[in-house]
């Protein structure tokens, strides 16, 4: 059964006068099956975050259809089975790590005893037990990332959406996150992650899609990640080349 | 000095793009225009009411402008860590705060000129009844109200059109157009006596705003936005009755011999050492903290 289904989805952002400013997605088709680790790859501004926000129900498509567990993405039933780690951690700086997890447990509708037990487990898993009662405003970027990751897992989701899960983490923590993702997938969780690093997808994902300018330019299983798909990704990244070092040095 | 002036310029431009400054100016314009134009009270001195409404808009609006603009601009730099980039360019923390203060003061000049010019037009519209006390002013109600309303509405409409068709920044364009309309309104049957009668007392209100600007800038450099704003407003609120009773009562009264220049000079003389003291104490504290 498809956990996530996008059919011909387009999204254009508009300014105050409703003039189109950015065409973020253009007729995107996407299907993620249960138990998969699906990678959404692409350079900056290719439409990865917009796709995720559409799946989460935070944006509505201009055209096409989005379904999550065969339901509209904003519905409470669909949200109950969902966990989300955003690109930046977005934590309430005045709350402690424990309070943050208990807060999100409450929003997921867990009863108090379960919430406390799961909070303890997640704090241990992310090695935050020692600092659990410190306000997260004073945390390092990596620690804040771990709190955010724990809070995305608090409701035991069936689908976990990870937007750039390794951004801001050191190599050891990055490796641990990748291992965690694989372990979660083994337990039956479906995972959708975005990245602009091909190596991440190779290490973790079972299937992936490469986006560029809001369109899918290639997709397949990780076993198919041969030279042609790599070239496809590199071409998409090269198209977005932002720096012109030579001209600067020449000037 | 280059870094100092860059920060002053950037701060003034930042505030001119801030919706808060534009909205506050609009509210002050509305207060001075309509309090002068509509006769909500059947008795009394409408000219004085219009004058006091204009001066109140400059005093209260100026204090709100000074405190909020100062706290926002300093806290924004600290919270987004852009202050680190500025301090890396060989400018001291106290000089940075002084530059921020100067930038806010520059932006305040636009606010002050706009509201002051508009209040002169509004008083022109209300000058009825007690003409003798105000040097035989003639009342120009209709055109004054029309000019006041135009100063509020037209900049917004024109700035919206400029944004729609030429992609010019709405807030900055509207703020500058408000100033242009307010100054241009003065040109309608110019009466320089009124400009002095209303403009001179308005000048006496500037030092209080400048003092709270310095006070809020310094507090924002040390405290969170909530605390800095709260303390500054509390200080202003407790001093407002004194400022209002003193400045408005003395400054807005009809002056037989022209503007109260001596009174205005006194307010500047009293405020200047206070402003300097606040900035110097801040500099001293920064040096002691080892923040420089």
């Amino acid at each position: 059964m498809a956990v996530v289904e996008l059919q011909g989805v387009s999204k254009t952002f508009r300014d105050f006068w409703l003039r189109p400013t950015v065409k973020a997605l253009d007729g995107l088709d996407l299907s993620i099956e249960s138990g998969e680790i699906f990678g959404l790859l692409g350079p900056n501004g290719s439409g990865k975050s917009t796709t995720i926000k559409l799946i989460l129900g935070l944006l509505s498509p201009d055209a096409g259809k989005v379904a999550l567990f065969s339901r509209p993405p904003g519905s409470a039933a669909a949200r109950k089975r969902l966990g989300y780690l955003p690109e930046l951690s977005y934590l309430h700086s005045f709350m402690t790590a424990r309070e943050t997890l208990l807060y999100y447990a409450g929003l997921c509708g867990l009863d108090r005893a379960t919430a406390r037990e799961r909070t303890r487990q997640l704090l241990e898993m992310t090695r935050l037990s020692d600092v659990a009662d410190r306000q997260v405003g004073g945390f390092s970027k990596g620690m804040a990332r771990r709190v955010a990751l724990a809070s995305s897992l608090i409701g035991k989701p069936e689908l976990l959406v990870l937007d750039e899960p390794t951004s801001g983490l050191d190599p050891v923590s990055t490796d641990e996150v990748k291992t965690l993702v694989k372990e979660l997938a083994k337990s039956g969780m479906t995972i959708l992650m975005t990245s602009h690093l091909l190596a991440d997808a190779q290490d973790v994902c079972t299937r992936f899609m490469i986006l560029n300018n809001g369109r899918s330019v290639a997709q397949g299983a990780v076993a198919d990640l041969d030279g042609s798909l790599q070239d496809c990704f590199l071409a998409a990244v090269a198209e977005r080349r932002a720096f012109s070092v030579a001209s600067f040095l020449k000037a | 000095m280059g870094a100092f002036f860059s920060i002053v310029r950037a701060t003034a431009l930042e505030i001119s793009c801030d919706a808060f400054a534009m909205l506050l100016t609009l509210a002050a314009l509305a207060l001075s225009t309509f309090a002068g134009a509509l006769h909500y009270h059947q008795f009394g001195d409408p000219t004085r009411m219009a004058r006091e409404a204009g001066l109140s808009a400059i005093l209260a609006g100026g204090l709100v402008f000074a405190i909020i603009a100062s706290v926002r601009t300093v806290r924004r730099e600290i919270e987004s860590h852009t202050i680190d980039m500025a301090l890396a360019h060989s400018i001291s923390r106290s000089a940075f705060i002084c530059a921020k203060f100067a930038g806010v003061a520059l932006a305040y000049v636009v606010f002050f000129l706009t509201v002051c010019a508009n209040s002169i037009t509004a008083v022109r519209g209300a000058a009825i009844g007690a003409q003798e006390a105000y040097g035989g002013l003639a009342r120009v109600w209709g055109p004054s109200l029309a000019l006041g309303v135009a100063t509020i509405v037209m900049p917004v409409v024109l700035a919206a059109a400029a944004n729609r068709f030429f992609r010019i920044r709405f807030v900055r364009c509207a703020t500058l157009l408000m100033l242009a309309f307010a100054l241009a309104s003065l040109a309608y049957r110019v009466d320089w006596r009124l400009a002095v009668l209303q403009g001179a007392p308005a000048l006496a209100l500037v030092p209080s705003a400048v003092f709270f600007m310095a006070f809020a800038c310094v507090l924002a450099g040390r405290l969170r936005a909530n605390a800095a704003t709260g303390i500054s407003f509390a200080a202003a609120a407790f001093s407002l009755p004194v400022l209002g009773a003193h400045y408005l009562a003395d400054a807005a009264a009809p002056q037989a011999g022209g503007a109260p220049w001596g009174f205005i000079a006194l307010t500047y003389a009293a405020a200047s050492p206070l402003v300097v003291a606040v900035l110097v104490v801040n500099g001293r504290l920064n040096t002691k903290d080892g923040a420089d």
Partner: protein
């Protein structure tokens, strides 16, 4: 419900740990401590108490309103703009709870600060001090009197062209001919409320009131005016059943005359009667004037100051809940600067609208600008009525009871119905807010 409490706790933690609640309590209490130095009233003990009570509780309420409204609008708009709200929205919590929890927390914080202030005021002015129930005279309804005035005006209209009609009357009629009926009705209603009654020297005036138990604790509150002076000499005797009280005063415009069992019995009433007569025999040398609907009240001793303070606190907290809910609603659909500014302007115009309408006589609606701006002001006043029509602090300052029925109504409407409606609207706005934020 769980989500509601989680959001409630989150907002409470924010208010406490960001020191907003402490600063607010400090500011409100500092204001109450400062009031005795700022206001002395008319110099009499009662006058000082009246002004200080009005200023201290009124000021504390204003501080709470402004601070919590700004804080609510700012924090919610900031949550939305900084994407933290989206993190809550992807959880299975209803959007209604995200707004309602926040509104409840802001209101609870405000109610807590107001409770502190109320305790301080009760300790200062005495918990056992009696407050009075206010009884209006039994009179023809204002609308009926206004209708009679309108009928009389219509009957006079044909005389406009009659040369025998006095010039003054013709002038008045001519000035009213183009006035719309709605404006005339409003004007006549105002006239009916403000209608003066004259009591000549040596004359006796009578008014009827609902019959009262002839026990102790009844008093008359009256405000007399003479032709040109609000504080002229007043002398005379009131009688109500077998109770009476005399008045001799030239210092105060509002007089409170206690009624006690005396020799004079006037307007005695059979037990079955529903109304009873209050008489005033004017023994001063001047003609006295008063507006019976506004200036004449019978006061009956009721419960204590402390109980009334509890009811006033409930009313103030309910009003605060509406203001906070409105601020959160604005925060859910506007950017933080615009939300805070709009909230401030709405509070200011809401508070000022009733004063403007009261001080603006209908006859002065001469031009279109006046008419349009007054129509707008009346609309604002109508919308803001649930909050700004309640005056619990003024009632306490006048030693009057805060009506229990009014309190219940305020709690039901201001503390529950309006915030619930605004939370629903916020939930709707949230659905589109992220879209527009892009």
């Amino acid at each position: 419900m769980r989500a509601f409490f989680e959001i409630f706790r989150l907002e409470m933690r924010r208010l406490w740990r960001r020191r907003t609640a402490q600063l607010l309590a400090l500011a409100a209490l500092a204001w109450i401590f400062c009031v005795p130095w700022l206001a002395n009233g008319d110099g009499t003990l009662d006058g000082v108490r009246h002004v200080q009570l009005l200023l201290s509780l009124g000021g504390a309420f204003t501080i709470c309103c402004v601070s919590l409204a700004a804080s609510g609008a700012l924090s919610f708009a900031a949550e939305r703009e900084e994407f933290r709200l989206a993190l809550a929205r992807v959880r299975p919590a209803p959007r209604f709870a995200l707004a309602a929890g926040r509104m409840a927390a802001l209101s609870a914080a405000g109610a807590g600060v107001l409770a502190l202030c109320a305790c301080f005021v009760v300790a200062k002015y005495g918990a056992g001090r009696p407050c009075s129930r206010v009884i209006d005279p039994v009179m023809e309804p204002v609308a009926a009197e206004a209708d009679r005035m309108y009928a009389h005006y219509l009957s006079l209209l044909p005389k406009l062209d009659d040369p025998a009609t006095p010039e003054e009357l013709r002038g008045v009629l001519a000035s009213l001919t183009n006035t719309p009926k709605a404006v005339l009705s409003r004007m006549f209603m105002q006239r009916a409320r403000d209608r003066f009654e004259s009591i000549g020297p040596g004359a006796t005036a009578r008014w009827t009131f609902p019959a009262q138990d002839a026990g102790e604790g009844l008093a008359v509150r009256i405000r007399f005016s003479s032709d040109f002076n609000m504080r002229d000499e007043v002398r005379g005797v009131f009688a109500f059943g077998d109770l009476s009280g005399s008045v001799s005063n030239i210092t105060k415009s509002i007089l409170k005359v206690p009624l006690a069992r005396g020799a004079k019995a006037a307007g005695a009433v059979a037990p079955a009667q529903a109304v009873q007569t209050l008489e005033f025999a004017n023994s001063s040398p001047n003609t006295l004037m008063l507006r019976p609907r506004k200036d004449l009240k019978l006061l009956a001793a009721a419960d204590s100051f402390a109980w009334n303070m509890v009811r006033a606190w409930l009313q103030l907290s309910a009003m605060l809940a509406t203001v906070c809910a409105f601020a959160v609603f604005l925060g859910s659909c506007l950017g933080r600067t615009v939300a805070v500014f709009t909230c401030g302007v709405m509070l200011f115009t809401g508070a000022a609208s009733s004063d403007i309408i009261e001080s603006y006589p209908d006859q002065l609606e001469e031009n279109r600008v006046d008419r349009i701006s007054l129509a707008v002001t009346r609309a604002v006043e109508f919308v803001c009525r649930p909050v700004f029509s309640l005056h619990p602090v003024a009632a306490l300052a006048d030693d009057e009871c805060v009506a229990p029925a009014e309190t219940l109504q305020a709690v039901a409407i201001d503390a529950f119905a309006i915030p619930a409606l605004l939370a629903l609207l916020s939930a709707l706005a949230m659905a589109y807010a992220h879209e527009s934020a892009k």
